[in-house]
Amino acid sequence: MALLLALSIGILAGSGVWLLLRPRTYQVVIGLSLCAFAVNLFIFSMGRLRSGAPPILASTTGTLAGYADPVPQALVLTAIVIGFATTALLLVVLLAARGFTGTDHVDGQER
């Protein structure tokens, strides 16, 4: 399972990076979103992969071994929401830049 997830993270990151290096702003937006998936999954996987052990306490007693690590999950949860906000900001800035410069090239002018 670890290999599967690692490969998936790698493919998401690779696709995202390829798009980051493209000249069109839309490609960069999509690329950043793909990178965000990869990074979120990566941080999440720092808590290791366990099935059927959500960090939701079933009883107030008992061992803690049956629960997944909640910390990476809490980190990623806010990261997902903030990620949405920054994607929106980037998109709007790029749209405004397209209006000003007349081009959707990342440098604001065609090369």
């Binding site: 997830l5 290096l21 690590d69 397209r98 081009t103």
Partner: protein, 973 residues
């Protein structure tokens, strides 16, 4: 009053006054003057009040803890010398405030002026009474900053801006050198405390680091006191309003340099290095300043160069290393301040009344303003060193010191002659100041017919001139005891016997004075006609313009060289920058891997679930597909991006993260809507169009990027795999798991972590969210699309054309028709989704859900209504006011945190219990719920605001961007 209160008040009062002054109305000249004058007077009284204690105890001290770990205290100390200087700052400060009340025009925004002036006064007092070199340095830099702001007060003129910048660069450079020098002193002594530094003179002078420390400190002090060759900033600082020139650039700030030299005189003076470095610098400033002053046509320019010359005189006196020299230096600091401030005020009055400061245009003003003329004449005579005035006394002391032998050398032997020459020049420029302005032919060139200024504008000048006279005639009875206190605090046991008297008998200094007076008068007679018509600056040397040299230097350094370095080493293009960044990251990651083998265990195929493998087969395909399609098929890429997001979402659910899966799913929805809304404003792009770029180069570029992407992807995969197969160490996670229920009162540990344990982080995050939403809103208010996007999209135009062609249809019907079924479902779903949002919110503390998820759910409910029925329809029926949601929610979250203060707990401490609700049953009710409510409301507000702001662009009447660069390029072609 204790010493602590007194010393602290001296520093704090001006800054408090400065803050207050900044709040007044722009034309409140009178109240500003009352405030600033009041502050200066109170400080003056405090000082007068403190004098007996200083005589009795020597030094007043105040200590407060500041950074005990570094051995730094916030210590203040007021001794006789500091007292005299502080008296000068507050006394002349008060007079300058009074003068400025009449000098400033009603059109000048005075709050800024008086606020800066008071802050400057506070900083200057800080330098003077600092008990610690680091604190002294702090206030030193502050005076530089306020001097910059005051020189640039009339920032609409280029002269003010350039002068301010030059002063800041030169004195700022000196400040850095001084900091280094002070650090060296601190290293030698082992403390920055002034008392300790003053007690370790022998250690400092014999240390190897003495010379570097001396050079650095001299760089700092000589730049501040405008000594050769750093003097260039002072004449250019004359662009400041005249009250500023009077206070900062003659009486106080420029004396900070010689003040510090005097402070450190007991520990650093007396060595050959000190004598040579300081002596040469002082002599150069003394002679050149006086010489240049003769040839200035601007009244203030003449005074500026004369200030440089007089500061050179003080520096030279300090360089001698003899106690009597130090006495003369201290005495001359005071004398120079009184007559020079008064002369600046006179220059300001002349400028104010005639509209010009050019001596070639002025003349015969005595008949128009006899009182001002008389005052200026007395002050000028003091500057020239005429008997019966204070300038004469300190000059005599200077002559007496110059003929003494201190260090056998050429420099020492030449001193008497240099002193007489400089003094001759001083007489010449003083005469010129008086004669060319007040006497001679009445000039027809003056912009206005002059008359006497208001009485109160003359009072400060009058007071200072009176001081010159009284000190000049009865020195021992008036200034004597105070000077002695000041000298004793600097020299201690080395205090020499000195007599302040006008008549010391018929001796050599008196003859030198007489020679200088006669020679100066003759020189003026010889130059008088030349000066009437000569261009600015001294003959020959005028081509060596320090200001031009400085500006050339700045341009070469900050523009040409930095631009060249940028061209050579960097780029402004995004793609190469990103490439470098990614390659650097990849290389950095390769280093640890290449140093030792990772020793990764082989994959364990047994736990591989084929279902998840299939999910990721699709997910990876979607990711690669999105990367491939994003250029020409944006919608396809967006759909594929959603596919990859869905695979991520399933993975979260698979590996025990229901909260993440829920949030990811909801965020996927709003992200897709967001990007869909943005698609409309992007240019059309067709695959057929190819660039002129060489296909082989293009292929090379693309394969290089592909290689980078592959390397980064492979690296990420390796890193992720390496971490995942390592055994899990003990983490903070168990802490949260243990305490989530007992202390946070919730079973959903992720939610409890977010709203309780790490609530402060979450508060920060929602603040960011709010800021981003408002930024987007603000950006879109002035949105100008590119011209090709202004009209409706093709599909919409076609539909509307069809609708208009049919007699029984109106525009928009086709759209309404084919969205009919979805729109009815979406409208029906509105209440359902609201209930779902409330449900997710309420159960969040115990089960997957919570403020973030519920907030996005509710936002989706609103957005669906927009999608179903259009912006106009929704906004006719529903007022959402997302900005209010954002503001109130942020307030709620912050207030929840603050409420715990009422119970004596730290910020954001929560209390929890279960509440029995009718029908629903036990509901977790922690105070964290209110915090989560804030999160919820903020997420709703922010998400809705972003999406609606973008959606509104389609219904707004938009203007195209005026001239886009693309258009400009086309027009040029």
């Amino acid at each position: 009053m204790t010493d602590d209160v007194l010393l602290t008040m001296l520093i704090v009062l001006p800054f408090v006054g400065s803050l207050l002054a900044a709040t007044f109305r722009p034309n409140a000249r009178n109240s500003e003057a009352w405030l600033a004058g009041g502050v200066a007077l109170i400080c003056l009284f405090l000082l007068v009040f403190a004098y007996p204690a200083i005589v009795e105890r020597g030094v007043l001290r105040s200590e407060a803890e500041w950074i005990p770990a570094l051995g730094l205290g916030f210590s203040l100390r007021l001794d006789g010398f500091a007292w005299m200087f502080a008296l000068l700052v507050t006394g002349i400060g008060f007079l300058v405030v009074l003068y400025a009340r009449y000098y400033m025009s009603p059109n000048d925004p005075v709050p800024r002026f008086f606020s800066f002036l008071l802050a400057f006064m506070g900083s200057m007092l800080g330098i003077v009474i600092a008990g610690n070199l680091i604190i002294l340095l702090f206030f030193w830099e502050l005076t530089g900053i306020f001097s910059f702001l005051l020189i640039g007060y009339w920032h609409h003129t280029a002269g003010a801006r350039d002068g301010a910048r030059m002063a800041l660069i030169v004195t700022g450079f000196g400040g850095v050198a001084l900091l280094a020098g002070v650090v060296l002193i601190g290293q030698i002594v082992g403390s920055y405390d002034l008392d300790q530094v003053l007690a370790s003179g022998e250690a400092i002078r014999s240390h190897v680091l003495y010379l570097p420390a001396l050079v650095l400190i001299l760089l700092g002090t000589l730049t501040k006191s405008a000594q050769f060759p750093f003097h260039i900033w002072l004449p250019n600082a004359m662009a400041a309003p005249t009250p500023v020139s009077a206070l900062l650039h003659s009486a106080t700030m420029v004396k900070a340099g010689v003040f510090l030299l005097t402070r450190l005189w007991p520990v650093m003076a007396g060595t050959p290095e000190w004598f040579w470095l300081l002596g040469l610098a002082g002599m150069a400033a003394l002679v050149l300043g006086a010489f240049f002053a003769i040839f200035q046509h601007d009244l203030k320019g003449l005074l500026a160069y004369s200030t440089i010359s007089h500061l050179g005189l003080i520096t030279m006196l300090l360089s001698l290393g003899s106690p009597l020299g130090a006495v003369a230096a201290i005495f001359h600091m005071m004398n120079h301040a009184t007559f020079k401030a008064s002369l600046f005020m006179a220059a300001g009055i002349i400028d104010h009344e005639t509209g010009t400061r050019d001596m070639r245009k002025l003349g015969g003003l005595f008949t128009y303003m006899p009182v001002t003329a008389t005052l200026a004449m007395v002050a000028s005579a003091a500057m020239a060193g005429v008997p019966l005035l204070n300038g004469f006394l300190s000059k005599e002391m200077f002559f007496a010191e110059a003929i003494e032998t201190h260090v056998h050398s050429l420099l020492d032997t030449s001193q008497p002659y240099v002193a007489v020459i400089a003094s001759t020049f001083a007489v010449t420029y003083s005469l010129r100041f008086i004669h060319s302005v007040f006497f001679g032919q009445k000039s027809g060139d003056m912009p206005r017919v002059p008359h006497e200024p208001p009485f109160w504008m003359r009072v400060p000048s009058m007071f200072l001139v009176l001081a010159c006279l009284v000190v000049g005639i009865f020195p021992a009875a008036t200034v004597g005891p105070y000077l002695l206190t000041a000298v004793q605090s600097v020299l201690g046991t080395r205090t020499p016997v000195f007599s302040l008297a006008i008549w010391h008998g018929f001796n050599l200094p008196l003859i030198m004075s007489a020679v200088a007076l006669v020679a100066g008068a003759l020189l003026y007679l010889a130059l008088k006609n030349y000066l009437r018509h000569s261009p600015e600056g001294p003959p020959v040397l005028r081509h060596l313009n320090g200001r031009h040299l400085f500006e050339r230097g700045v341009i070469v350094l900050s523009l040409k060289w930095s631009r060249a370095a940028e061209m050579a080493l960097s780029t402004r293009r995004l793609q190469p920058q990103l490439r470098i960044l990614l390659l650097a990251a990849a290389l950095a990651a390769l280093v640890p891997i290449s140093m030792g083998s990772l020793g990764l265990p082989g994959p364990d195929w047994r736990d591989l679930d084929p279902a998840l493998a299939l999910v990721w087969l699709a997910g990876a395909g979607c990711a690669i597909g999105a990367a491939h399609q994003a250029k020409y098929h944006r919608l396809v890429a967006l759909v594929l991006l959603g596919g990859a997001g869905l695979a991520t979402c399933i993975t979260f659910a698979w590996f025990s993260a229901p909260d993440l899966a829920l949030t990811q799913l909801l965020v996927e929805i709003v992200t897709t809507i967001l990007i869909l809304l943005g698609l409309r404003w992007l240019p059309k792009r067709f695959e057929q169009i190819t660039t002129e770029e060489d296909p082989s180069r293009r292929r090379l570029r693309r394969s290089r990027d592909l290689a980078i992407a592959f390397v980064v992807g492979a690296g990420m995969a390796t890193l992720a795999y390496a971490v995942m197969v390592l055994p899990m160490p003990e983490t903070v996670g168990s802490y949260f798991l243990e305490r989530a229920y007992t202390e946070g009162g919730g079973r959903n540990v992720v939610n409890v972590t977010l709203v309780d344990f790490r609530g402060f982080d979450t508060l920060g995050e929602i603040t960011v969210l709010a800021a981003v939403a408002l930024t987007i809103f603000a950006l879109l208010r002035r949105f100008r699309p590119a011209p090709d996007n202004v009209g409706s999209p093709l599909q919409q135009r076609r539909q509307n054309a069809f609708d208009e062609a049919e007699p029984d249809r109106k525009a928009g019907d086709t759209l309404g028709d084919y969205l009919l079924v979805p729109s009815v479902i979406m409208k029906w779903l509105f209440p359902v989704i609201i209930v779902l949002a409330i449900y997710l919110f309420l159960r969040g503390h115990d089960l997957p859900g919570g403020g973030f998820a519920a907030g996005i759910t509710l936002a989706t409910a609103f957005i669906l209504q927009y999608l179903a029925s259009g912006t106009t329809w929704v906004e006719d029926r529903l007022r959402i006011l997302p900005v209010n949601w954002i503001g109130l929610s942020l307030l709620l979250a912050a207030m929840t945190g603050m409420a715990s203060w009422l119970f004596g707990y730290p910020f954001l401490t929560s209390h929890s219990q279960y509440v029995e609700l009718p029908l629903i049953g036990a509901v977790p009710a922690a105070t964290a719920l209110f915090f989560d409510l804030g999160v919820f409301g903020l997420v709703v507000g922010a998400t809705v605001l972003m999406l609606i702001a973008l959606a509104h662009q389609s219904v707004r009447k938009l203007r195209a961007s005026r001239t886009t660069t693309a258009q400009a390029v086309r027009e040029e072609a």
